[in-house]
Assembly symmetry: C2
Homo-oligomer: 438 residues x 2
């Protein structure tokens, strides 16, 4: 009988409690799969007495997670505390320094301190696994780390935040406003009381930073990501997208360009028939484009106690099996500083929605400004309202104009729209959504 | 500098040549990812002189693949010969007996001799990796073998044959007949001159046998699979499916039931909004249902030289990294003999298309026979033709009747339809397509 792998777990929220329960429940199966039993032997959390639906009386209680992390009685430390500060950071550091393996679901910690922690893991011989930090139960971290080694990846992109995708799905299907949707999402527990971290794209950016590192061998650096959330998206945009053959998704995109690795998070028009466009509700998905082959897409639950616990247990199982991969797919010293491709030089198609003054010459002015910046239009549609009740319109309320451009640069679009604004032929701010082709 | 992993490769078709080319091309990247270089040092194929677009002059040529397999100069033997007989089988056996690791794309070999080969690999300490045998570049083998360990899988199903999915897609989109599509597929190289292995479902069955073993810890056994191909599918079925909110896909399904593991390959009605229904053309996809979480779906190219080579190289990279997982996810001695769930006891919804005699009482007779076998109908639609040119019909040509049943058993449906046939109220054979809910 091989000795069991002894697990110390800090953080007994929904995920932590599920990990403890599932490991006990599937003990025989896990032993068969890993060649040795896995046993949770000690836990740490803020409150000892709380009812979590699991029996923790047989587990050793260690009040201080940092102490638990370095405890000689454990082989692997599972960090489910969260946050990039202490005690999560100090506990993970302590565990790695003690030569233990660490399994964590903490995207913030990895986004901010991932490279340093990877270096520690390598120096002391422990694993640092974090499947649950991105895409919940979807095995995307392992896939990028260990599979697809054969041909270089040119682009990785995905729906990484369930809250945003849930909101966009409901706005699209039920023609609900952003604010109505947000309230619904909060009521159902899909959005936090303070939703800004999700809806402004920062959660997606942290996850993208991790995926980009695994994909391109660059240092994890959320600071080099262009981030734009979904707060400006309206049902008018979703309807226009639908008519044009697109859906709008909040994507995290990392792509190799000749100017460096472009990392960006923004609402994106994706072709309706693409795999990523089919992903509705709280589901997550990641698409990988590798050279010379059709895209690979992984779809699944991005959050939830059991889904996240499932990823945590996969990571623990890898430790039990003795699998030791470099945390970001290659030795941390070989991770390069990403040459940040400036967003101004981003190239792609654009959807532009303007509120144009309803008077002669407006469309011509807009078209001229775009042409001056070498922007070719794939289509321009002026949204007519029904004929006004009182007869023909003369200089009425502004009318929506929707433009789809061929590939151009962010810089050109920004400058052209600034010129259009100066011409005073539009009302309010133009809406700008990038198009991502598959 | 760690010693390179030395590869001997047998079979230099499109896949083999791509493996040799990609390994040379991405040498630095692979070294960084695996911690050691990977070098193809010797090859074997039928013809030495053939132009394959790669330079094999620097590689050692070994005419006999079985000799290459046991060659002391190699660490890993890559078998791309194909077929479940010799020399593929004898070469893989020789390599494993010599303690080498084996990477193969050979589904037939694994379907028929997988357990014996896995036992050999375990006894002699080599790896036996076969990511490329199922789903091309999709990392489904590794996912089932190493990920998702946390909660037991209740069902795995997928589109595993690109030829069939290509044909069904074109039949659906362009309303082409089966025979027209097959000719097109053959012309484009998506179908073999003798297409029966693909279109009769046997290719899917071999792949399903491998997935079922990985998923449920049962011995690989294609003989225990119920197999039905797509040759009976007509555009009438595809149109009816569309109207009813379904698409028809050839699925391989392995599901845990209280009667044992049910393994079956057949045309299947899947809800249009499911991830698997979106998969069009030659693309493959596999969906995994694990307890307590939403389904996980992996989509990607199921065939093609570069896609398959990519999976082969991932497997070689795992050998280089020192990853040794049990070939079927747990020790071969622990793989159980699957209690074959008899197809007669399969439970599910059914689509039934009949050509009913156009005379009074026909519908009542059909409904009565179904009721006698406790089959509840979700819907019954009689397809009316336009009114005949000469006025009202009286006992004209048979009219299509389409029935969707609630969950029932295969046995009940078969018996009810036999009774309907005996009643002589239908013409020809009834069409029967199983419905798979997501």
């Amino acid at each position: 009988m091989v000795a069991p792998l002894k697990v110390g777990l800090a953080g007994l929220g929904t995920v932590g409690a599920s990990v403890v329960r599932l490991i006990a429940q599937h003990r025989a199966e896990l032993t068969a799969r890993c060649g040795r039993p896995i046993e949770v032997v000690a836990v740490s959390a803020r409150s000892r007495g709380k009812d979590r639906g699991i029996d923790i009386r047989k587990l050793r209680w260690v009040a201080d997670p940092v102490k638990l992390a370095a405890d000689p009685g454990i082989d692997v430390f599972v960090e489910l505390i969260g946050g990039d500060g202490n005690p999560a950071r100090s506990a993970v550091t302590a565990a790695l320094k003690a030569g233990k393996s660490v399994v964590t679901a903490n995207k913030a910690l990895l986004a901010h301190h991932g490279v340093a922690l990877a270096a520690l893991a390598e120096r002391h011989g422990g694993a640092l696994n974090f499947e649950a930090a991105v895409g919940g139960a979807i095995p995307i971290v392992k896939t990028l780390r260990e599979s697809l080694a054969g041909n270089p990846i040119s682009r990785v992109y995905g729906i990484l935040n369930g809250t945003c995708n849930y909101m966009l799905t409901r706005m699209e299907r039920e023609k609900l406003s952003f604010d109505e949707c947000l309230k619904e999402a909060q009521r159902l527990g899909y959005a936090e009381a303070d939703p800004s971290f999700d809806i402004e794209g920062h959660d997606t950016a942290q996850k993208l930073a991790i995926l980009a590192s695994l994909t391109f061998g660059i240092r994890v650096d959320p600071g080099s990501i262009y981030v734009e959330g979904i707060t400006s998206i309206t049902t008018a945009d979703l309807e226009a997208a639908d008519e044009l053959g697109y859906r709008i998704k909040l994507l995290g995109v990392a792509v190799k360009t000749d100017k460096g690795i472009e990392q960006r998070v923004h609402p994106t028009m994706v072709p309706k028939e693409s795999a990523i466009a089919q992903v509705m509700g709280v589901t997550n998905a990641v698409t990988i484009d590798a050279e010379g082959i059709a895209p690979i897409t992984l779809v699944g639950p991005g959050a939830g106690g059991v889904a996240t616990a499932s990823a945590v247990i996969s990571d623990i199982a890898d430790v039990a099996r003795g699998v030791r991969s470099a945390p970001f797919g290659r030795p941390s010293v070989r991770l390069t500083v990403s040459r940040k491709a400036p967003m101004q030089r981003h190239e792609g198609g654009y959807y532009i929605r303007l509120l144009a003054m309803d008077r002669p010459g407006t469309a011509a002015t807009i078209a001229k400004r775009l042409a001056e910046h070498n922007i070719s239009m794939e289509s321009i549609v002026q949204r007519h309202r029904g004929p006004p009740a009182g007869g023909a319109a003369k200089g009425g309320a502004p009318v929506p104009v929707i433009i789809i451009t061929y590939a151009t640069t962010e810089d050109a679009v920004r400058k052209a729209l600034a010129a259009v604004k100066r011409d005073k032929v539009i009302s309010g701010e133009p809406q700008l959504i990038r198009i991502e082709k598959n």
